[in-house]
């Protein structure tokens, strides 16, 4: 009898164990920003439109996935002239290549709340491997990912012709993401 009850309880417990998977992006609370140097002056900008499909369960890193689409024409450099210029042919050529996409290939734990995400970043028809350290903080069902990585703009042909001059606009671009993702309980 006792044994039976324990078995039942265990079964019940197992059935009700819920993996917490963070998978609902809160776009309005998230941000995608970038930093670069122009004539030695540090400048920042952001992308106003992007979407992300994220599924992340800290207990199941092997299954973690992220796919991010960035609408390149939604760039905000802080200057209207520059916004129009970078959407143009020599920069993003946003008419032909409207999106930058990132697709994760793996996430590894670095200890504590630190992880390392790797994946492929495609911009303007060119795809490169990127690696970003990411911190993940959760409070209740709200998870926040923060990460930074650098790219070389010329590797993606961002800025052709006269703009290949990296003494005016530096080659190195720092990308920062702040993703707020809510968890939906997933039954085991």
């Amino acid at each position: 009898m006792n044994k039976h009850i324990i078995t039942s309880l265990l079964l019940l417990a197992a059935g009700s164990v819920q993996a917490v998977e963070y998978n609902q992006l809160q776009a309005a609370q998230s941000a995608l920003t970038f930093g670069y140097k122009q004539m030695g002056v540090p400048l920042t900008g952001k992308f106003n439109k992007f979407s992300a499909q994220v599924s992340f369960d800290p207990a199941k890193l092997a299954k973690a996935q992220a796919h991010i689409d960035v609408v390149l024409a939604s760039i905000d450099t802080g200057s209207t002239d520059a916004d129009e210029e970078v959407a143009g042919r020599q920069w993003f050529n946003a008419k032909t290549y409207p999106l930058a996409t990132f697709t994760s290939s793996g996430v590894t734990a670095l200890g504590g709340n630190r992880y390392q995400a790797t994946g492929k970043l495609s911009i303007k028809g060119r795809t490169m491997d990127v690696t970003a350290p990411v911190t993940f903080q959760s409070e209740g069902n709200r998870g926040v990912f923060d990460g930074t990585f650098n790219i070389k703009r010329l590797a993606y042909a961002i800025g052709e012709g006269e703009w290949t001059d990296v003494s005016t606009v530096a080659d190195e671009i720092q990308i920062k993401f702040h993703l707020v993702v809510l968890a939906a309980p997933v039954k085991k």
Binding site: V41, G78, W163, V169
Partner: protein, 173 residues
Amino acid sequence: MNTYTRTAKALHWLIALMIFAVFPLGLYMHDLKLSPVKLQLYSYHKWAGMTVLLLVIVRLLWRITHRPPALSLPRLQQIASNAVHHLLYVLMFAIPLSGWLMSSAKGFQTVLFGILPLPDLLAKDKVLGHTLENVHQSLNYLLLLLVAVHIAAALKHHFIDRDQVLTRMLPKS
């Protein structure tokens, strides 16, 4: 001899030369299509402007501690001359400062010679940046007018009154 000090002359002509370079540069670069050259020219303009500001501060300190050579002019001319000179000093100081403020408000920090970051005096504010651009422009047109009056007066003193007002500022007087 009734002449300015070497330092006063050097500062006068150096700042004059820089204004004659940085003013047309400002006009020219503003209408350029966005390009690396435009970004470079904006930086050069800002560096030159900040150099003028620094020189003007030195010049004001020099002017306060050194009396200019005495000059006897009719009362009305004396008043006009004082007014124009005071305004020129105010503008030489206010114009680069307004440019600095505009850069800060527009979110483009000034990094002197690409090396020395100057503090942003204002937080980024698009509307304020636009207002300051108008202020910077208006002050410059006022400067253009006053410089024209200043030069015309100097030439009048030299060629019509045939006095020493112009020559006492010349390098070899």
